[in-house]
C-alpha cells in the first residue's frame, strides 16, 4: 500500500473520530500500544496491508484474524517479525478493518474459524515481512550507494559490511518510496529466530490491567445501551406489547419493536435491563411451542433403527457382522451445548444516513458486514466493522445469519441513536446457535482372534449448514452434511467392512459450529466404541488401537507419546482408572490419556496427558495453552453440560444450571508436542475431541461401566 493510501486510511480513522466523537482510537483493541495520535502519525511506511513502520521504530502488525484467546495477536506478528528481522520489543498489533485484502487466503472471506489462523497466515505474514525488509534494504542501499545484496538485517536495522547501521525507523520515510518487490525469498526454517520459540503473548499486559477493550466495553460519546426482549421460544414473534410501565422508568429513552423482539434503549445497561424486564409482551410462540428434547431424542432413537444416507461404505459391513465371532451395539448420545463465552454477546452500532460503523467482537467480518449493510439499507462499502477483543468465541461469534450484528443494526435504525446492544447471560444462553444434539448408533464385531471385522455408524442430528449460505459450498449436492460426520467418515482404523450413514434431523433449534464442530461428538462416539471393541476382543485398548493404525504414523506417534508420558500400563492407586483416545481434526493429531476416580457416583478427573502433532508450529507456549484449554473445555462438556427444552423453553439459564469446570475440579494437565516439519495444522479445536472419550474410557477403567451419554451420569452408565 502506498503512503497515499495509508493517508486515506488514517484520514478515515480521524474522520471517524470527528464524527463519532472523542478519540475512537481509545476504544480499539491494541489501543494501549497505539493510542497516541503522534505515534500513529509517525507511521510513515506501510509497504502492504499487514504492517506499518514509524519513525519511532514502532512496527505495527495489522492482524486479519480476531483475537479470542487463541493468541493470534502474538503468533501472526511473530511470522511477520521473523522475516522482517524486526526488533520484537518494538512490535505492536492492531486488528484489521473489514477489507478484502484481509480475506482468509483459503476461505476467501474475513473469518476466524476452523483453527486456521496460523496455518493460513503462515506464508501471508511471512511474505508481508519479507517484502518490507526488501524495501528497507533498498532504501539503505540507496542511502549508502551500496549493492542491496551486500547488506544484511538484524533486530530492526539494516547493516553493511562495515557494520554501519540504519534503523527501520530511520529508513521508514525512504523505504516508503521504494517499489515493493515482485517476489521475495523466505528464510530457511533453520534460520528462524522467533518461529518455534515460546514467545510471551503480547496482549497479556492489556488483559491484566483492565485496559483491553472487549465489545461490551465500547463507550462512544452519545451512545446509549439497549437490552432486547426476545421470544421465549425459537421462531416466536411479538403479537403485542405493553411498555406503559417500562417507558417511564429512570434512564429509559426509547422502546422500539425490532424483528427479534422489543428493544429498550436507556442511558445505562442496568436501566435498560430493569425496564426490559418490565415490558409485558404477548408472544405468538409459533411451531416450537411444545418442543421437548426428551421427545426429540426418542425420535432420534427410532430414526437410528432404519438405514440413513450412505456416507462411506467399505466392503460388506452387514455380511461381516453376521459372521463375526463377537458383536456389540452401542448408542451414544450428546446434548445441545452452548458456547458460553465469558463475554455475553454485544454489538455497538452508529448508523448514520450514509454510513454504518460497528464495534463488536466478531469472528465473521465479511459476512457480518454484508448482513449489516442489508439491514441498514446501505451498500457494503458504507459499513465498517471495528473488531474488538473477543471474550471468547468458540464459534458463536461466527454466525452465518449474523444474528447479534443484524439485530443491533435494527435497534439503531428503529431508535435513531447510536446504540450498544448488550445481552444478559440468560439472553446469551437462550439465544440459540448451539452445538447440535446427536445420536450415534454403532454396531461392530470382532473375529475369533479379536480383530475387528465390521463397523457401522449411524448418526442422527441436525445439519449446521442447511439453510445457510454455506449449504451449497459445503454440502456440494450431498444429502448429508460433512460437518455432521467429520471424524467418523475418515475413521483411521483398519477395519475391512465399514459403513457410515447419516440421518439429517429437521428441528427448529438454531445450531452451528461449536469448538471442534462435528468432531466434538464423533470423537466421543468413535473413541468410546473402539474401546468397547477392544474390551470385546479382550485386548489392551492402547495396543488394540496401535495394531489398527499401522498405516497412520502421525496418529501412532501422538498415541504413543501420550501413552508413554501418562505411564500407560503402570499401576494406579486403588479406585483409579485410565482411558485413552486419539483423533485427527483440523489438520492436527491429538491423543489424550485421562486418569479418573469415581466416588459416590461423582467422576473426578485427576490428570490429563495431551500430545499433539500440529505440524510445523509457531509458538509452543500458545500451543500448550490451547491444549490445556481444549481439555478443560472438553471436560466441562463431558462432566456437566447439557441444554434441554420443555414446552419450547430452554431449561438452563446461567452458570448454575450449565456449569463450567472450576479451579477445584481442574485436573493436572500435561502437554507434549511432536516435533514436525509437516504443514502447520490447527490448534484451537484439535485439543477438544479426545477429552470426553478419554474420560469416559477412564471411567470404564475405574469402574467397569461404560459411558454412552454425555454429560456423564453414573446412574446412566451401562
Amino acid at each position: 500500500m502506498s503512503t497515499l493510501q495509508m493517508e486515506r486510511r488514517e484520514f478515515l480513522r480521524f474522520s471517524v473520530a470527528a464524527s463519532g466523537g472523542l478519540l475512537i482510537g481509545l476504544y480499539l483493541p491494541g489501543a494501549s500500544k497505539l493510542v497516541a495520535a503522534e505515534e500513529r502519525s509517525a507511521s510513515v511506511f506501510m509497504p502492504n496491508a499487514f504492517l506499518r513502520i514509524g519513525t519511532d521504530e514502532r512496527v505495527t502488525v495489522i492482524v486479519n484474524h480476531s483475537e479470542m484467546g487463541q493468541g493470534v495477536y502474538t503468533a501472526l506478528p511473530m511470522l511477520l517479525a521473523e522475516e522482517l528481522d524486526a526488533d520484537w520489543d518494538k512490535i505492536a498489533y492492531e486488528s484489521a478493518l473489514v477489507d478484502s485484502k484481509y480475506n482468509h487466503p483459503v476461505f476467501g472471506m474475513q473469518i476466524t474459524g476452523g483453527s486456521s489462523s496460523v496455518w493460513s497466515g503462515f506464508e501471508q505474514y511471512r511474505n508481508a515481512g519479507a517484502a518490507a525488509r526488501a524495501m528497507l534494504i533498498a532504501a539503505a542501499a540507496q542511502q549508502w550507494n551500496a549493492d542491496a545484496p551486500s547488506l544484511r538485517t538484524e533486530s530492526g536495522a539494516v547493516l553493511d559490511g562495515r557494520n554501519r547501521k540504519l534503523t527501520y525507523g530511520q529508513l521508514a520515510k525512504a523505504a516508503a518510496k521504494m517499489t515493493p518487490p515482485a517476489k521475495v525469498t523466505l528464510k530457511d526454517p533453520r534460520a528462524f529466530k522467533l518461529i518455534g520459540k515460546p514467545i510471551k503473548r503480547l496482549d497479556t499486559p492489556e488483559k491484566i490491567s483492565g485496559k483491553a477493550v472487549f465489545g461490551i466495553d465500547v463507550r462512544n460519546p452519545g451512545m446509549l445501551t439497549a437490552v432486547v426482549a426476545r421470544a421465549p421460544v425459537f421462531g416466536g414473534k411479538v403479537k403485542s406489547f405493553d411498555d406503559s410501565h417500562a417507558r417511564n422508568m429512570p434512564g429509559v429513552r426509547k422502546i422500539v419493536a425490532v424483528p427479534s423482539g422489543v428493544a429498550v434503549v436507556a442511558d445505562s445497561f442496568w436501566q435498560a435491563k430493569v425496564a426490559r424486564d418490565a415490558v409485558r409482551i404477548d408472544w405468538d410462540e409459533g411451531e416450537m411451542h411444545a418442543f421437548s428434547t426428551s421427545q426429540m431424542m426418542q425420535q432420534f432413537r427410532e430414526q437410528a433403527k432404519s438405514p440413513g444416507t450412505s456416507v462411506r461404505r467399505d466392503g460388506d459391513p452387514d455380511g461381516a457382522l453376521a459372521k463375526a465371532a463377537h458383536k456389540i451395539e452401542a448408542v451414544y448420545e450428546v446434548p445441545y451445548l452452548s458456547h458460553l463465552m465469558m463475554e455475553p454477546l454485544n454489538c455497538a452500532v452508529d448508523l448514520r444516513e450514509d454510513s454504518c460503523e460497528i464495534w463488536t467482537g466478531t469472528q465473521f467480518q465479511t459476512v457480518d458486514r454484508a448482513a449489516a449493510a442489508k439491514a441498514a439499507g446501505l451498500p457494503n462499502e458504507k459499513v465498517q466493522i471495528h473488531t474488538t477483543f473477543l471474550g471468547g468465541g468458540f464459534g458463536r461469534r461466527a454466525t452465518p445469519q449474523s444474528d447479534f450484528v443484524v439485530e443491533a443494526v435494527h435497534v439503531a435504525k428503529a431508535a435513531g441513536v447510536p446504540v450498544k446492544v448488550v445481552w444478559t447471560r440468560e439472553d446469551d444462553m437462550q439465544g440459540g446457535w448451539y452445538r447440535p444434539a446427536f445420536l450415534h448408533a454403532i454396531v461392530g464385531g470382532v473375529d475369533a482372534s479379536g480383530n475387528p471385522v465390521s463397523w457401522r455408524s449411524r448418526l442422527v442430528g441436525q445439519s449446521i449448514m442447511t439453510g445457510t449460505m454455506f449449504e451449497s459450498m459445503m454440502m456440494k449436492g450431498k444429502e448429508y452434511d460433512p460437518a455432521s460426520v467429520e471424524g467418523v467418515d475418515d475413521l483411521p482404523y483398519e477395519i475391512p467392512n465399514l459403513a457410515v450413514e447419516s440421518h439429517q434431523a429437521k428441528v427448529g433449534v438454531p445450531v452451528q459450529w461449536w469448538r471442534s464442530v462435528g468432531h466434538s461428538h464423533t470423537g466421543f462416539a468413535t473413541e468410546c466404541f473402539i474401546d468397547e471393541l477392544a474390551a470385546l476382543a479382550n485386548k489392551d485398548s492402547y495396543q488394540f488401537r496401535r495394531a489398527l493404525l499401522t498405516k497412520h504414523p502421525r496418529h501412532l506417534a501422538v498415541l504413543d507419546l501420550a501413552a508413554q508420558k501418562a505411564g500407560w500400563g503402570k499401576p494406579l492407586p486403588k479406585g483409579r482408572g485410565r482411558g485413552i483416545a486419539v483423533h485427527f481434526a483440523f489438520e492436527s493429531y491429538n491423543a489424550q490419556v485421562a486418569e479418573v476416580s469415581v466416588t459416590d457416583g461423582k467422576v473426578r478427573v485427576h490428570r490429563i496427558v495431551s500430545a499433539v502433532d500440529c505440524g510445523h508450529y509457531v509458538n509452543p507456549g500458545i500451543i500448550a495453552a490451547q491444549l490445556e484449554g481444549g481439555a478443560i473445555f472438553g471436560a466441562s462438556a463431558a462432566l456437566y453440560q447439557e441444554l434441554t427444552f420443555e414446552n419450547g423453553r430452554l431449561q438452563q439459564t446461567n452458570f448454575h444450571t450449565f456449569p463450567v469446570m472450576r479451579m477445584n475440579e481442574c485436573p493436572e494437565i500435561e502437554t507434549h508436542i511432536v516435533e514436525s516439519n509437516d504443514k502447520s495444522g490447527g490448534i484451537g479445536e484439535p485439543g477438544v475431541p479426545c477429552t470426553a472419550p478419554a474420560i469416559a474410557n477412564a471411567v470404564f477403567g475405574a469402574t467397569g461401566k461404560r459411558i454412552r451419554k454425555l454429560p456423564i451420569r453414573m446412574t446412566e452408565a451401562v
Binding site: E67, M68, G69, Q70, G71, P198, K200, R201, D203, T204, P205, E206, K207, I208, S209, G210, K211, V213, F214, I216, D217, R219, T225, P250, D267, S268, F269, W270, L340, M341, M342, E343, L390, G391, G392, G393, F394, V422, T424, R425, G621, I622, A625, E628, G629, G630, A631, I632, F633, N654, F655, H656, V660, M661, R662, M663, N664, C666, E668, I669
Partner: protein, 156 residues
Amino acid sequence: MISFSVNRQRVNLDVDPSTPLLWVLRDNLGLTGTKYGCGMAQCGACTVHLNGEAVRSCVAPVSRAAGKEVTTIEGLSPDVSHPLQRAWIAEDVPQCGYCQSGQLMSAAVLLREKPRPSDDEIDQAMTGNICRCGTYPRIRKAIHRAADMMSTGEAK
C-alpha cells in the same frame, strides 16, 4: 447522592442505590476493566475489593459501597507491577482475558490473607472465578510464583 472512593479517588454519584456496583463502575465511572459475566455471583468476572474484601460487584448494590473504599483492576497497580500481574505475564496466563480482572482481584485477597497458599487454599479462594478458556493450571502456577516473589522480597 452516594459517595465512596474508587482506586483512592473520591466519587459522588446520583444513582439509584439499588444499582449493582458493577454497572456504576462500568457505565457511570467508565471503569470497564471489571467485567459482567453472569449477574448472579456465579462466575466472579466482576470481582472487586470493598474495603479490602473480594466482592461480586454484579450483586452488590452500590449503596453497600457508601463511605467505603472500592478497588478495581485499574487500581491494583498503576503499571502492571503487582507481583500477581508480573507472575501472570511470566506464566502467560490469559487467553481471551475476559475473566482475568476478576481472577486477579480474587487472587490478590488470597495472597494478602495467605502469603504462601497451599493448592487447597487456592482452590477455596479461586473456585468462584470461572475461566471458560481453561487457564486454571496457569493461574495456580502464577499464584505460587507471585507468593514466591513476595516472600523473597522481590515485590515492589
